[in-house]
Symmetry: C2
Subunit: 210 residues, 2 copies
């Protein structure tokens, strides 16, 4: 699949079938994820593929706990926004069917830092999210549904214990993977000139860019 | 360009020519960046294209200041590692030629949080780095050199002042763009099975995955 097509048609797919996904395919996706850049080329990442029903159940409980707290806020925020309401319904579906989703990939980074300055945070997260995005694009290219989920990892302590992660590794996102019930397709975004400035914030570029 | 080719041949290109890069092309790259996912689809991003020599000079100074502090540590870390020494030489080149690089794109996220818990940090950075990775892949596909640079932004305070950014926006990465002097090409990474576990950390998947 051409890059531009993969990028423009990638979207969060939350509803997926329970049908199994081949391990080799998952490894191929992670292999493409690994091509993402890391600060100093340190490659301080670890990926945990989760298929064990017991592990899923534990994360499903964490996820439900957080969603119960957050659901009302999300509903309130979306009260005048049908697109957001649709998104919340899809999130609800993912919460309800957490254990039926065939595979999760937990992406972890080496390090365990709280309260660090933004530039360090940017290097840290900037060394895992390019890999995450590669994984999402690669999933899209083979037709697998995927999205970024951080909610089941809200308690780093619990997540570390469930996965047996050492203290020096921080679980960052938990990506559900499965064959989609919905479809991939174009996303809507604010136009590029509305969010882009030249040299100084607010200096928008008009149609006749210099 | 096929997605897999873009992903596997993307690498940090630090040495680029001073030749100008068309504004429309940069906007096209940012447009593809905007296709990246954001938490709650909030799209709380802002991009500042930097071409003004005066703005570049200010960031170049910040960058040199930090590199002078960090250079010895970097050299020490790389003392037995020729690949890392090559990387450091490329970083040095970028520091020395900072003002000659034709364009920078500063990617900012809405929010200004220090010391937040990892799950919030992951949502925040996870809402800008997928866009950053899309931009890097799109740059690779059109043959433009690019890499992730956080160093010139080490002082968020100074960076905000230079770009006139409101306090509610945090500059996150500064991506140099230009026509490469070097070449794109395959990267080397640790093998996928060395960094991937099944269900529990350390439970490596052997050649005959189940």
């Amino acid at each position: 699949m051409p890059l531009a097509e993969a990028i423009t048609t990638q979207r969060a797919i939350r509803r997926v079938k329970p049908d199994p996904v081949d391990d080799e395919l998952i490894l191929e996706l992670i292999e493409l994820a690994l091509k993402g850049p890391t600060a100093q080329n340190e490659q301080g990442w670890e990926f945990v593929i989760v298929k064990d029903p017991d592990v899923k159940r534990k994360f499903g409980q964490l996820n439900r706990f957080m969603w119960r707290l957050y659901r009302r806020i999300a509903a309130h925020k979306a009260r005048d926004n049908p697109a957001e309401q649709r998104m919340n319904r899809a999130v609800q579906w993912g919460v309800d069917h957490f254990e039926e989703i065939p595979v999760y990939v937990v992406c972890c980074f080496r390090g365990n830092r709280l309260g660090f300055p933004p530039v360090v945070a940017a290097s840290t997260y900037g060394s895992i999210f390019p890999a995450v995005q590669n994984l999402l694009l690669a999933a899209r290219a083979v037709g697998l549904g995927a999205n970024i989920n951080t909610m089941p990892l809200w308690s780093n302590f619990a997540a570390r214990r469930i996965l047996g992660l050492p203290f020096g590794l921080t679980p960052c996102v938990m990506i559900p993977l499965g064959w989609p019930i919905g479809r991939y397709g174009p996303t809507t975004r604010r136009p590029v000139r509305e969010v882009t400035s030249l040299d100084r914030y607010g200096n928008r570029i008009d149609g006749e860019a210099t």
